[in-house]
Amino acid sequence: MKIKARTDDLIVQEVADETLVYDLKSNQAHCLNSTAAFVWRRCDGRHSMEEIVRLMQAELNTPASDQLVSVALHQLQKAQLLEEKVPTSAVSRRELARRLGQMGAIAALVPAVLSITAPPAAAANSVGCLANGNPCPSATSCCSGKCVNSICSP
């Protein structure tokens, strides 16, 4: 089965060793580490899972490539970044990190597709006031008008 990643309604940006993806349909933002991005880039509708595993072994020389690819696909699927469902193994990221450790490989290889959210403190509303719970420099910064111990309070 050839695997195809979604390409429509996505904004993709590469920054340092991360690939940032914004899904315009779901308004979700994701951060892919290099392993997840490697797999995602090869989901071009021309490669099967086995072929991606072989590519990873050849290009990255990683141990347990089959498990890495499987976990990456599972994560990408969860983030709705693939066109269709693909069968993936049930190995958790933690378990994979442990196995990689036993093989002397670094845990950073474990694929990660993390959701990005603007932190609550950034959630100044359209009129420029801060919601409760956000750090505040003065009472007027808070929507509630109360800045207690530098935190906007109800």
């Binding site: 940006q13 990005i116 420029g128 801060l130 420099p137 003065s138 007027t140 929507c143 509630s144």
Partner: protein, 370 residues
């Protein structure tokens, strides 16, 4: 804790690919980040703390996430901008991109300089048509005539002849030439009271990216008073952000900078977005309608600062008292303030209190984060 110096130390050199080392404690970062957030300068903090132990703190990780979102937001805004430019072009209207993307390109990493607005200059004679086209676009596009604001005014054709072309998302866009853009950034900064540290960084970045052949005459053309305002803005970048003004016309001006100028900017930096714009004041009024002490505080924040008052009165930036200008500006704002009081009386005071931010790309990085 006096926060303005902290703001200054965090943004210092943050527009450069290699900013100077940052000396900041985790507590100081926690104290200053909310202020930077309110003024949309938090990505500059991230740029300074990345690769340091501060990046691993709670605030450091939050800054990294905000930066990632900003990268995506800017990418989306770039699409919006290109779409608008192309739609206008289809109608035979050539536009010039000002601020926004044109400023962000001076920064060393995508997303470092967030922008929420798309501002386009169009020829005076095509303004109405352009506004109709812009209204048909899915997002807010601000099309303006180049003569809309008196202090920035310059014929479109004059600006267009020095415009630079860039390819973005497969389309060609035109931005103001470096001299015209620097002039605009300086006047825009002062017109808004210089309350956002980011705006001064924009000037710093534009200053440091001048190329050989940069024409100062073009920056300082026309009214000597307006030219002097521009010089004062450049001096602010020098005094507060250590931008070199050696061998520039601003070099001599820095010796005679009025005493009220730098403290006014630092006071704004201390306040963050509590600095009261007309819009913000209206919100505060409705929010604090039944709390007289808060109303007094809001009114106090509404009092015109020396910079905006000077700009409003088209006054010289000199050592004379700013009070007459501040009174004049306050007087001129009185009808609007009275109107806002009337509106506040009629509206529910709770109307705005429940609003919270939206954490998706649809949320502008701030109203007016030009």
């Amino acid at each position: 804790m006096n926060l303005a110096p902290l703001v200054r130390s965090v943004i210092l050199g943050a527009w450069r690919a290699e900013p100077p080392p940052l000396s900041l404690t985790a507590e100081e970062l926690a104290a200053v980040t909310p202020l930077l957030r309110q003024t949309h300068a938090e990505n500059l903090a991230w740029w300074r703390v990345r690769g340091t132990p501060l990046a691993e703190t709670e605030w450091g990780r939050a800054l990294a996430d905000t930066y990632r979102m900003s990268v995506l937001r800017n990418a989306l805004q770039a699409r919006v901008m290109v779409d608008a430019v192309e739609r206008l072009r289809e109608q035979g209207i050539e536009s010039l991109v000002v601020k926004g993307w044109a400023v962000a390109r001076h920064y060393p990493a995508p997303g470092l300089r967030p922008y929420g607005d798309v501002d386009l200059y169009v020829p005076e004679g095509q303004l109405e048509h352009a506004q109709v086209v812009a209204k048909g676009l899915p997002r807010d596009i601000d099309v303006q005539s180049t003569t809309l604001y008196e202090v920035y005014a310059r014929e479109f054709e004059t600006l267009a002849e020095r415009a630079e072309r860039y390819e973005v998302e497969g389309s060609v866009i035109r931005v103001l030439g470096p001299e015209d853009h620097l002039r605009l950034l300086c006047l825009h900064l002062l017109d808004h009271g210089a309350w956002r540290p980011l705006w001064l960084c924009d000037i710093a970045a534009a200053m440091e990216q001048r190329r050989p052949g940069f024409e100062w005459e073009r920056v300082l053309y026309g009214s000597p008073r307006v030219a002097d305002w521009v010089l004062c803005a450049l001096c602010l970048a020098h005094v507060l952000l250590d931008v070199s003004i050696a061998d520039t016309p601003a070099e001599a001006r820095v010796q005679t900078l009025p005493r009220w100028l730098v403290p006014t900017v630092l006071r704004h930096w201390e306040l963050g977005n509590a600095f009261s714009t007309r819009h913000h004041f209206g919100v505060l009024l409705r929010r604090h309608w039944r709390q007289p002490p808060r109303l007094v505080e809001a009114l106090r924040l509404r009092w015109p600062d020396p910079i905006r008052a000077s700009m409003f009165c088209r006054a010289p930036f000199d050592g004379s008292s700013r009070l007459p200008y501040q009174f004049r500006t306050a007087l001129a704002s009185a009808p609007a303030i009275a109107g806002q009081f009337r509106s506040a009386l009629l509206e529910s005071p709770a109307a705005d209190a429940g609003q919270t931010g939206r954490a998706d790309l649809e949320r502008e990085p701030g109203s007016g984060a030009q």
